[in-house]
Point group: C2
Chain length 419, copies 2
């Protein structure tokens, strides 16, 4: 595509305006925003009213416009817009991780069918070029795992609880006051946002396509001062970490959960709204990428880099998927967790393979043990209801449960002493 | 280029063998090594002798071979091979940073003239995909600076002096015994290797082409226990840091020098043979990439990713250069340095703009002051001869010297006290 890009923009929130800023300040760039579709007609806007329309089809059916940039919040609306645009033969750039994660396989087929390109670097880890890096650079690299901190809001909250001794509630309030967190923070603090990103990266890293409802996500909303104290006393931090791990049998696990990290971990120093990604491969060893995870400008610059890539006909090749279109999703794995609990009967119910530590103090109770992650998912509502907290330990193995192994007898090593 | 790649390989050292390993273990990959050109006929090799030749033209003039992978040490020989190959219409992948840095502009023209692709990701920072990231991702991003740790050998030595209290000589010896450092370590410890990499990145980040002899490189070979003590007492580490910085007037500085870093700096925790790159941009803010900087497998995987990119016709676009082919190189800048010295007359000779600290103890003397970096370059031989040590301070400004500014009167704030 060598002709100038005529962009139709959907949404003019923080990212849309960020893009507009970046675009207007970037030299030698062959792209123009011809129209912007917005919802609220009343709202005051910083640029000329002639740019705006309230009718999506004024953009989607305009043959002059060859690129759609979709930056609206509503994932369902976004899906309709993107699908319609692709079918109309327009290239699309989107930052909507939920929409991409929910429809990725279909979106890949639509790109192929209509010979158009859909790019979504901005959907994952803001300004970190992780999709492109996995797609392009690690092609044919034997990858083991991709993990990191993918959500700036929850990381901001966790940072505050550690450094400023704020309670979860106070840290959340601060994040909301600063505009880092939404009024309903569920998406960020319960790990949904990180999960959507992990699902997108799993496709580019391992060729796996998995539906969000199949992927476990545990959040940080039940974090208590005791959990923070436990971490601090051991020189650890708690981070909300999505894990994408390939097993020896070729199957791939994907889940999001809090995890303890020590100072030897790259993620230990990724604070506030920053994101970090660790990529482990057979030959490149351990790679680490870090940068601003959110905000209008970082995301805007990621969107711009996709628009720029379109200008020379770039499209994702989904090479890992083409190399092996039958990757098995496998969350039937054993993990080692810290679980703060109240009722001993609950611990008895959970099918622990092994319990290494059972701690009871006048302040709180926890166990450290190994169990199938599916067990925790089964009781996820109970855990949230009773404000219990679960976190992977700092070196938790993630091992597939093989039939041979089966379930070991339940052992309990009871430890007394203070947390 | 959709047909299978037939590779002619030059050199079968650590990287060449690494590539061979990676290639043989990578699935679904349309490339074969048809011939390997080596020098020593006697040497025992781990793979079948039928692969080897001692006549370069058996590869270069073979029409079946469409990709040359050049992995030899000798930069002049490498240049002849690469130039000949490009003129023959073959694509080339090289890891030879010195060769690329010395001939980059001509190599860009040859690519254009013969419509072939020359890729050299492996030439800079081993497994970190920095060339591709700057070229692709930061296209149209307003970049401010690129800096980091580009040389694993010197970083390994510096790490040992800090953590194991080894003297520079002892740390160098250890690095040599482990094969990290060559018998003549000049290239690594005096900053030449890092300089070549910085020159390559300057072209992709800012469109600047500059000859190596114009770029200052200060090394670590004169590091003494006093310098290490000074750093430790202030909670700092010493790293050998290439800096590529764009100024407000559009001119770009490039130089390599030791610099003090504190724990807030991403590079503080980049240890041993690891590399790290910090990219600062207007919209993406601060990005950090880290990974193994050297070794057969990391470099081999970088070479492989270039070979893979060739398989779908990838070539560097040198967009920054096309956007502005007249970027001014500007090392006429003021920097703030720590300089350990012996003779006060030497300090008087140096044209300091300002001296902030003058320290004299029974053990050693140093000044901390601001001066044109060219002044230091002028006396580089003297500094090495007398085993003095110079390092940028942790927040050293890098400000172009404007006529208006001129030279300030020399002030001296003499501080007593121990280091």
């Amino acid at each position: 595509m060598s002709n100038k890009l005529q962009i139709g923009l959907f949404g003019f929130g923080c990212v849309g305006q960020g893009l507009y800023d970046v675009l207007s300040k970037s030299s030698g760039f062959r792209a123009d925003i011809s129209k912007i579709c917005v919802k609220q007609q009343s709202k005051k806007r910083p640029i000329d009213a002639k740019y705006f329309t309230y009718d999506r089809f004024e953009i989607l059916d305009n043959p002059e416009i060859n690129v759609i940039v979709e930056l609206i919040d509503d994932a369902n609306e976004a899906y309709k817009i993107v699908k319609y645009a692709l079918e109309k033969g327009k290239h699309v750039v989107t930052a909507n991780k939920k929409m991409v994660a929910n429809h990725l396989k279909e979106l890949v087929e639509l790109q192929h069918k209509y010979n158009v390109s859909l790019l979504y670097e901005a959907s994952s880890c803001g300004s970190i070029p992780i999709v492109r890096t996995l797609e392009e650079y690690y092609d044919n690299e034997l990858l083991f795992s991709v993990s990191g901190i993918f959500n700036g809001t929850s990381n901001y909250i966790l940072t505050k609880t550690i450094f400023e001794n704020l309670s979860y509630a106070a840290a959340l309030k601060q994040a909301q006051d600063l505009g880092f967190a939404e009024t309903d923070p569920t998406n960020d603090v319960e790990g949904f946002d990180a999960k959507y990103k992990a699902i997108i990266l799993a496709a580019h890293a391992f060729g796996l396509f998995v539906q969000p409802e199949k992927v476990f996500n545990f959040g940080i909303s039940t974090l208590s001062e005791w959990d923070v104290t436990y971490a601090k006393e051991k020189g650890l931090k708690i981070k909300l970490i999505p894990t994408i791990k390939k097993h020896d049998d070729g199957s791939v696990s994907v889940f999001v959960a809090p995890q303890f990290v020590n100072s030897a971990n790259y993620l230990f120093n990724v604070e506030n709204e920053f994101n970090g990604v660790i990529v482990e491969g057979a030959f490149s060893d351990k790679q680490f990428l870090s940068g601003k995870g959110a905000g209008g400008h970082p995301t805007g610059s990621a969107v711009l880099s996709d628009i720029s890539a379109l200008s020379y006909g770039y499209k994702y090749e989904y090479k890992k998927y083409k190399q092996n279109d039958n990757v098995k999703f496998n969350n039937d794995v054993l993990v080692k967790v810290y679980l703060r609990y109240e009722d001993d009967n609950f611990i008895k119910q959970l099918k622990f393979e092994e319990i290494y530590v059972k701690h009871t103090s006048d302040r709180f109770k926890y166990v450290i043990g190994q169990l199938p992650i599916g067990e925790l998912a089964k009781y996820q509502d109970y855990i949230k209801e009773h404000k219990l907290f679960v976190s992977l330990t700092k070196e938790s193995p993630i091992t597939p449960i093989t039939k041979k192994e089966g379930k070991l007898a339940e052992k309990e090593l009871v430890h007394a002493g203070k947390a």
